[in-house]
């Protein structure tokens, strides 16, 4: 592929990865830093190009692209719902239920809402949703696109005048973004409900009204805005990083497993970085 995607591969400098081990630890760290910066540059450029394609080609071939988007939303959203509900119930029982029960034993009812909002709504919900979507769909995206790349499907698209980013990446990124956003909401709501169920089974003297009021009083409008932004950003970048590794560099079939592991690791790393960024936003808000 010699189009816009090819430049990423060249910029990432294969030699940097395959060079012999450096002699000092500082050289080793320096090399890691270079690789990190080059990867960050490649992912950022890929993200910007994908955004540009989403905007510029919004009305190009909708009869082909929109059904693919719907399929991806089902794949990264609707089909994952049972698993998310199961995880949310377990999370509610283990984390929320026990926290609320412990707070009740200490008579610290006033802090329940703050703890729930901080732990579940701001942190655990979005991050867990992104990691689960990465495990179930993101890794599959890398394998799917990596195989397509290795089999020459990208060149076939270019030969047919079809933009590979528009056809292969855009539906997956949009599906992942909307999927992670929706599933985060379901996960949080289910976890909070199952947490109360655990509290109820433990005979803790906490009425549903008080439980809901505590949580509601701790929520501000910023939480809703930042939750939506955070979950969408997680979904977008899980989609981008997985597509970047599957598509943006020439691959052979035996490279696919290696890039899948790399993409998964980088997705988690990117999510943690975004989480840290949002922590500062919350702190300022």
């Amino acid at each position: 592929m010699q189009g816009k995607l090819a430049s990423f591969f060249r910029s990432e400098k294969k030699w940097l990865r395959r060079a012999p081990l450096p002699r000092t630890y500082s050289d080793f760290l320096g090399r890691k830093l270079f690789v990190f910066l080059l990867t960050a540059q490649g992912i950022s450029a890929f993200a910007l190009i994908t955004l540009a394609v989403i905007i510029r080609k919004f009305n190009v071939a909708p009869a082909v692209i929109r059904p693919m988007m719907r399929r991806e939303i089902a794949r990264a959203g609707v089909r994952l719902l049972p698993m998310y509900l199961f995880v949310a119930i377990v999370l509610g029982f283990l984390a929320i239920g026990e926290t609320v029960a412990a707070a009740a034993r200490l008579g610290a009812f006033d802090y329940i809402g703050t703890v729930m909002v901080t732990v579940v709504v701001r942190e655990l919900g979005p991050l867990l949703s992104a990691v689960l979507a990465l495990a179930r769909v993101g890794a599959a995206n890398v394998i799917e696109l990596g195989t397509a790349r290795a089999l020459g499907n990208v060149e076939a698209l270019e030969a047919a005048g079809i933009d590979p980013i528009h056809y292969l990446v855009v539906p997956k990124v949009i599906g992942m973004t909307l999927g992670v956003f929706s599933l985060t909401i379901y996960l949080i709501l289910t976890a909070l409900a199952s947490g109360y169920l655990f509290v109820f089974l433990q005979n803790v003297p906490l009425t549903p009204g008080v439980y809901c009021a505590e949580i509601a009083s701790s929520l501000g409008w910023q939480d809703f805005v930042l939750l939506a932004l955070k979950s969408c950003t997680f979904g977008f970048f899980v989609g981008i990083v997985s597509c970047y590794h599957g598509l943006a560099q020439p691959l052979r079939l035996d490279d696919v497993s290696r890039v899948t592991v790399r993409a998964t690791t980088e997705c988690i790393f990117v999510c943690v970085l975004i989480d840290a960024l949002f922590f500062f936003l919350y702190f300022r808000a």
Binding site: G3, A61, V64, A156, A159, G161, I162, P250
Partner: protein, 265 residues
Amino acid sequence: MKETPEQTKKPIEMQGVSVAAVHEPDFVVLKDVNWTVGTGDFWVVGAPQHSGKSDFLMTAAGLVPLVAGSYKFYGNPTRIFDESRLADRLRMGFVFDHSQLFHYLTVAENVALPLSYHQNLGENDAMAAIDELLTVTQLKPVAEVRPPDLAQSWHKRAGLARALVLRPDILLADNPLGALDARHSFWWRSFLEELSSGHAWLREKPVTIVVTTDDFRPWRGDRPKFALLKDHTFVPLGSWKQVQSSDEPLVKELLAAPMEAGQLT
């Protein structure tokens, strides 16, 4: 009938072109290619395996940028077909050596993909539009089969149908007879000859054809012009008669003619 200015433009004009390897852009596989393809020409470019046939054809298809030289496609200077050259890109159909079909799409969906994308057709409309093409390429019985469940010979034919679905003016086929059985090989040669002289699917418009091969013998006939890739150069050979009478050892190799000891290249 008087020719329009568009008709007088040559589909492909290369002057001093250097071709890079597709997967290794720094490695030059061909240098100083001077080649002109006229409208309605049928070119057969021969070379042994790993001599740069695919790189050469992909450069001609605008999928790989030139390293040096000048390339004009219907008179327009071209380095690579980017998005601004979509109209030019769609005048050319490309058949890959390994077909490069999407394994999760059926044969019919693979064939219909360029048409549905560029004409914004829904699934039913696209299937109706390719019905005739599937008939002429005899792909109808396997239309609903996915490529992994299909013999390799049919993959190539599906690749050909996909390349033809937008009714191109020029068709580039990378080693189309490679790994085909005798029946499929015969069908391909007959079909390409029909395309070259004007097929009903293309409204009788003659298609300019360039194929690569590692065996000249199946392409014997009056219509094709032959060329050879040898020692990183492009060598035009001429007609079938000139190929037959050539003393070039590599040509004899591609004709699988008996050679004296030490002549193998």
